[in-house]
């Protein structure tokens, strides 16, 4: 893992209010868990950006060192790690995700 990549990811996280690290892309997710998270954010109708962790094999370890979370997907709101896919889907089911996303977008 390079320090430059970690710094670059930290900047990306800080510069995007709603950011999803996924396998594949928004329109071509390459993992069912990533697809499920995209679906949640599509339902919310909020603007979001994605980063494909498969684009470079060094992204996953660098990301894990930032979030202290080992798996993909990973969701960041307002520059903060919120959780993995199950957690975000559960928040959405409880109606607690939209307020967090709205707050991040307003920040």
């Amino acid at each position: 893992m390079t320090q430059e990549l970690k710094t670059s990811l930290e900047e990306t996280i800080a510069n995007h209010k709603v950011l999803l690290f996924i396998k594949g892309t928004r329109h071509f997710p390459r993992c069912g868990f990533s697809a499920a998270v995209i679906d949640v954010f599509e339902q919310l109708g909020a603007p979001f950006e994605t980063v494909d962790v498969l684009a470079d094999p060094s992204i996953k370890p660098a990301l894990a060192s930032i979030s202290n979370w080992p798996t993909t997907p990973q969701i960041f709101l307002g520059g903060q790690f919120v959780g993995g896919g199950d957690l975000v889907r559960e928040l959405h089911a409880r109606g607690e995700l939209k307020p967090l996303v709205d707050a991040a977008l307003a920040s």
Partner: protein, 83 residues
């Protein structure tokens, strides 16, 4: 790579004494596990902290951060059984 159900459950149970752990094989290949953990200690704990607690127990077996025996996990944490 794979990990049998009893070892998945034992890994979490050992890390969270008193928790009831049920693992479900999502793909029939013993490397995609849904892990449901019921534990009183989750009461009042933020969801992320709950998930981190379970994930920490599984981390030695995960792809990337551990042995790679487990490819994917789906987490469900419950403080008290309501059903």
């Amino acid at each position: 790579m794979s990990l049998p159900r009893d070892q998945v459950e034992a890994a979490v149970a050992a890390a969270i004494p008193g928790a009831r752990v049920a693992a479900t094989d999502l793909t029939g290949t013993q490397d995609h596990w849904q892990v449901r953990v019921v534990w009183d200690g989750f009461e009042g704990m933020p969801l992320l902290a709950q998930h981190r607690r379970v994930m920490a127990a599984l981390q030695p077996h995960l792809e990337g951060s551990g042995s790679g025996a487990i490819h994917a996990v789906q987490l469900q944490t419950v403080a008290t059984e309501t059903t």
